[in-house]
Symmetry: C2
Subunit: 274 residues, 2 copies
């Protein structure tokens, strides 16, 4: 299928997921655990509902494999196109009633992060949609967006995920956090990366080494198309393996100048974790 067709399909199906998840949230029913997913994480009813809907729509496309956090790898084993899905990023937010979670779908025509051709991240609270087709720029609700021009950490709003990092890990990030204008963390990394893409925040840093490619594939393309610098903690190009076992650390900054300062300040945190 062509990128345009994928774009239309993904915009449509994620809109439908938004409607269904909003319905579950209203009824207060989506937060119930229903099992454990292929990734080993707990699956909520809302995770399952979002995944079922995405799977049904995506597996109808011939020659397609789908990799998802809950269901694992499905579809045509010889399929040339891989679709990478995180049905509900921010499940814990959903379960606790924090209004910040999203769904994330990316199309990959190959096995490297450069071969992500379409990415869609939809905010499942208000329906906002961030998306990109490779080479055509990043969009929010159909309008072109760009990363911010903030060039100093002391003027930057930084998203940093430190969940379950341990005291020593947090200590290593102290020079970065302590210098930032503001440290924020909302709890759904794909959507927080889209905030960097459209200039809402200035960077997002996750050096815990626990993120999966399913979590960030779509947001990676959207951010890259918006001009965001995206590397591992050592400043190297991000390398991805498209399965649920490999884990990543990354720094995403709105521009190269800010990126350099962030890498310098959190350098030691990254060594050994990159």
């Amino acid at each position: 299928m062509k990128p345009d067709e994928w774009e239309r399909l993904l915009l449509g199906v994620t809109e439908s997921v938004w409607g269904n998840i909003a319905h579950l949230a209203l009824k207060g029913e989506g937060g119930k655990p229903v099992g454990v997913g292929a990734s080993g994480d707990r699956t909520l009813r809302a995770d399952k509902a979002a995944e079922d809907e995405l799977m049904e729509a995506l597996l109808r496309v011939k020659g397609t494999r789908v990799l998802s956090e809950e269901a694992g790898l499905r579809g045509d084993p010889d399929g040339g196109t891989l679709v990478v899905v995180d049905p509900l990023d921010g499940s814990s937010n959903f379960a606790r009633g924090i209004p910040f979670y999203c769904t994330s779908v990316a199309v990959v025509e190959g096995d490297s992060i450069d071969r992500i051709t379409v990415g869609v991240v939809r905010d499942l609270v208000n329906g906002d949609v961030y998306h990109a087709v490779k080479g055509r720029g990043a969009m929010k609700n159909g309008a072109r967006v760009k990363a911010s021009r903030v060039k100093e950490v002391s003027r930057a709003v930084l998203g940093i995920d430190m969940s379950r990092g341990g005291a020593e890990f947090v200590e290593r990030l102290a020079p970065l956090i302590g210098r930032a204008k503001r440290q924020v963390h909302f709890g759904a990394n794909a959507l927080e990366l889209c905030y960097v893409a459209d200039g809402t925040t200035d960077a997002f840093v996750d050096l815990r080494g626990s993120i999966r490619i399913t979590d960030i594939a779509a947001a990676y393309l959207i951010a890259a198309e918006a001009g965001v610098e995206f590397t591992d903690a050592g400043g190297r190009k991000l390398r991805a393996v498209f399965d649920l076992e490999h884990r990543l650390s990354f720094v995403a900054s709105s521009n190269g100048v800010l990126h350099k300062e962030i890498l310098r300040l959190c350098g030691p945190a990254g060594l050994g974790r990159a």
Copy 2:
């Protein structure tokens, strides 16, 4: 005026503020700086609009003084009732397009934090309103709410504000952050305290020593009425001076067991800053 009358007035006027701020946000006009407020902070058009509306409604009540971040102290100098206002908490979020900001109004019949009789915090993104009348419990959108029963930091979602704290300050908080299930920070402290009140999160910690009583007076009553433990970093009862000069540090936890562990883990950060 009686607490019931204040309750009605504040619920009504904050609803109207919500409508007007939503309108400014839609037009993309509220983020323009228009001066510097009485507190020394930059005033945005949205701050000014929210404050003007609140001031007009509150100063109509006879025998009332109003203390607000932008305008300072206004109204009847001999007025026995003090109304404490933060027109737009989370101004920076508003300016950057992060959908998390609120308005906060508290009525005080005396000069201590125990004499706060009515508190209203309204989410200016979705209109949700948290409020309390002293002795009658805490409400969200008119329904009674309570703090969570999570008793261990390792299972807790902790809100922590570290903005501009410096590296050493962050290092001292590392044992707490590193142990938490999740650290979050959304950027509007009054609303984040209401999240503790209704069990959305489990605690909120701000030991920077930079919060004003105007920022948290309403949320303090709402949290206290929901069963939240609220002390300074040394575990002492919070003392407040109702002006714009005094600054506070505080720890607010959903219950006493969790509170004790948090104080123990962040103890050194609080010494000298409480």
